[in-house]
């Protein structure tokens, strides 16, 4: 009788050095390998307690090439871009920009922590809206997001919705620039992957 054990150890052959290299080569990623694992980023991060890997750990996993774990982590999507880590890092690593590079890679490869996880869906809806109209219509953006992730949440938002209506801050108007075609040509020219 054989027993199947889950292997916890990762051999060097299992890691992806090209992944680490591509992040180093992305704008802002150039100092990734300078990390001294001091943990200042994790200490200053207001979201570290909610993350599956703290920023310090994620940085180490990224440069060791733990591609699958890094790209499917909640950590990269929980980063709210407050730049505390970037400003505090004693080795001047642009950690926020590395988080962005990892988010882009996850979107490219279609890897998310779970199905209909709302944060990448928001990024995609936002991207489409600005590509098509040039501006964001906040009310419609929220509507699209909830339709694609959690329709029931509409009910829990009535208090906020009514508050915005009462104060004249909820607008059904679709915002748009005049020269939309010009903006689309610009985004296509620099490589919009619609």
């Amino acid at each position: 009788m054989t027993t199947q054990f889950k292997r916890w150890i990762k051999y060097e052959a299992d890691t992806d050095p090209d992944f680490a290299r591509s992040i180093v080569e992305s704008p802002g990623g150039e100092r990734l390998r300078h990390c001294i694992q001091c943990g200042t980023c994790s200490g200053t991060c207001p979201l570290a307690t909610h993350m599956d890997y703290t920023p310090r750990r994620l940085i180490q996993m990224t440069r060791e090439g733990f591609k699958a774990e890094v790209l499917s982590s909640f950590t990269i999507w929980l980063c709210a871009s407050c730049y505390s880590c970037t400003c505090d890092c004693p080795k001047e690593i642009k950690i926020t920009d590395i988080m962005y590079a990892l988010k882009r890679r996850a979107i490219q490869e279609g890897v998310y922590p779970r199905r209909s996880f709302p944060i990448p869906v928001l990024a995609r809806e936002f991207f489409k809206m600005v590509y098509n109209r040039g501006r964001v219509s906040e009310s419609w953006l929220v509507t699209f997001l909830l339709l694609k992730t959690n329709v029931l949440k509409f009910f829990s938002m009535t208090r906020l919705g009514l508050g915005l209506l009462r104060t004249g801050r909820f607008s059904p108007k679709i915002e748009s620039i005049e020269r939309r075609e010009e903006l689309q040509r610009l985004l296509d020219a620099v490589g919009a992957a619609k």
Partner: protein
Amino acid sequence: MRYSYYPGCSLKGTGRAYEESLLPVFRALKVELAEIPDWNCCGATAYMSSDESCAFALGARNLAIAEREKAGDVIAPCSACYLNLNKTQHYLAEYPDIGRKVQAGLRAIGMSYAGTLKVRHPLDVVINDVGLDAVKALVRKPLKGLKVAPYYGCQIVRPYATFDDAFNPTTMDRLLAVLGAEVVPYGLKTRCCGGSLTGTLEPVGVPMAHRLLLEARERGADMVTTVCPLCQFNLDGYQGTVGGGADEIAMPVTYFTQLMGIAFGLPAADVVLNRGIVPAEDVLARRQIAV
């Protein structure tokens, strides 16, 4: 003094009270703002998460139009817009590949950007260009006795802290003091408000906003004042959703421009306190400040 004005999407939507109070205050300060014609979205955090070249192209088109219009440096009141336009400037200059790609894109639509403009925040302009003496001269109704927690949020000072400290900024503190308000010590002044997580991942985002409000209450603040439409939205809009009932906070959250308007004695229509979901009128009445 003349500047190009980049409002951004929020100031035309949920953050309209910011624009509605900023424009009359700047008129009173004799600062001319020329809205950038046909400006587009700054990309917020979503574009940088999707495609960095597109994110920089969005910023570059706005800067190119502003440069062509020759109306002067760009004022961006929203912290996300301020950061993204500044970031575009930095990356175009520091990363030649991005610079070339974006300039080629601009050429394809008959534009170019020489990089002659600065991107400024209205708080920076009030403090450093207008000056607190000029502000003081306009104060008709000092905000005497009003206890204010100055909340800066993150992206106005990080990572491009051009006019203030990245973790302990003081420009708004000094401005509020000149308006006659009492500034309470507020250590969380640049702690993240939760950003868009309040909408996408409420159990994580909303407590972040809530913590800021609780701290302001502990400090004895009558209200929190902000410089960013997303901070204002999160702090004002989600007060009832966590804790509820007994832990209802009822802390008004205003823009610094609204307090300037009150102190300058501008009419209620230029102060737009009616845009706050949590009303500020009671607190002001208690401190005998008339709007």
